[in-house]
């Protein structure tokens, strides 16, 4: 038996079945990050509340979903809910599991971003007659985005790969389809290398988006000339942070 089959490698690299698995991985990620962001935003607001009735459930949620493996959460949703008469298909279960899990992480990221907005900025908006809701949308949230975007990029990168966990409930994303082909054709190394290349391509594409996003949110804070004597010290553009936390 050959050690490495180039022919097989290229066949699988252009294989439609694998390609569609990668597309599935992409939309699983896209949906989960969006839903997770909305839910995470709500949790972050709840956690910031002065009333324990509001903040405690959010704290419990984050504690629970960050403290248990996604694998377990998915299996509970997939096999546990039908026992209460709720029967959902694999795709729905995957989307729910990923979104709920991601929301817990994003809640902490968003909360940190909101806390980083200086109170003076909010006082200035109040003094101009802004309503609290207008302050949130026009001042707090845009300024928090600068703090949120770098770790949010990390989450997207991580999630692209974490979606593979849904293969345990037989969600046919990239890794699951790779494994199915491996069971048929036994070209283990070639097939997993192909899927690794797909993951690399997707994370690299995200890196480019991430760089643009960071440039965009940092633009107001980047000083045109580096030697400005009396600009505030905290106005430096944030440095890039490492790309993988998982």
């Amino acid at each position: 038996m050959q050690i490495w089959n180039w022919h097989g490698f290229f066949i699988y690299l252009t294989n439609r079945y694998i390609f569609e698995g990668a597309v599935t991985t992409l939309w699983l990620t896209a949906f989960s990050i969006c839903a997770g962001f909305v839910l995470g935003g709500a949790l972050a607001l709840m956690k910031r509340s002065r009333h324990q009735i509001v903040s405690l459930p959010a704290r419990f949620y984050v504690w629970f979903f960050r403290g248990t493996p996604l694998l377990v959460q998915l299996i509970v949703i997939y096999t546990g809910l039908p026992k209460f008469g709720i029967r959902l298909d694999v795709v729905t279960c995957s989307l729910i599991g990923l979104s709920l899990n991601e929301a817990a992480y994003l809640a902490e990221i968003i909360r940190a971003g909101l806390n980083a907005v200086p109170p003076g900025q909010i006082a200035a908006a109040r003094a101009l007659g802004f309503e609290e809701r207008q302050i949130a949308w026009r001042i707090t949230f845009p300024q928090a985005m600068r703090i949120i975007v770098p770790p949010l990029g990390n989450s997207v990168n991580g999630l692209l790969k974490t979606t593979s966990v849904t293969s345990v409930i037989s969600m046919e994303e990239l890794l699951r389809r790779t494994q199915l082909l491996v069971q048929e054709h036994f070209m283990v190394l070639e097939l997993f290398s192909v899927s690794a290349l797909y993951y690399l391509a997707m994370t690299s594409a995200w890196d480019m988006v991430q760089r643009r996003l960071e440039h965009y949110v940092n633009k107001p804070y980047a000083r045109p000339t580096s030697s400005r004597a009396n600009a505030p010290a905290n106005a430096q553009a944030l440095p890039d942070i490492g790309q993988d936390a998982r």
Binding site: A124, G129, P224, N230, A231
Partner: protein
Amino acid sequence: MIVFDSVCKHYGTFQVLNNCSATINKGEIVVICGPSGSGKSTLIKCVNGLETFDSGQITVDGTRLHDPATHLPDLRRRIGMVFQGFELFQHLTVLQNVMIAQRVVLHRNKAEAHERAMLLLQRVGLADHAAKYPVALSGGQQQRVAIARALAIDPVAILFDEPTSALDPEMVAEVLAVMTELAQAGMTMMCVTHEMGFARQVANRVIFMDRGEFVDDLPAADFFDGRCSDRAGTFLKRILSH
């Protein structure tokens, strides 16, 4: 225009504001001075509800602060405020800073808000910097933009909370020049400041505060010509001695 009627506030047992009463009329320039911790900043922040007070009443342009019917944002949009730390919105350009309240609060259309903002930036001498972000400006320039931003909502009065205290000495003059121009144009101004030169030349009245009390409330000329209380005299001697 602004009426303080027996305003009191305390943190625990510490009396921050003690029975403060005064009336600031339309077109008056009133300087509030006093040692640090005397309650000046707290007092000025009470006027637009950024700080609360325990008892008494403040009435601004006919609207009472301690009144359940008063919607604070409605009251605030009639008073401008300039902060010690400028507090320009960091994520917006200079032009957007002067436009945003006109758009969001007063619902002016874009063209109108733009035109008004450019006029105000010209007035404070910064029209050339309209497209820059606040970080690209010096402290003095940022404070002048902050004054333009406060003027953009067409306030009936402006509150200044130590507007020059965070500035390098050479930038104090440019901000005071803008404030003097405003005063001459007839704006009602309440100004917490240690700039006694400005107080002497521009203010109509000086209120001297110490330990939460209005110790003196005198015409500026009288205050500086030795008709002030002993406590104010000691304070003046201390800050003018160097």
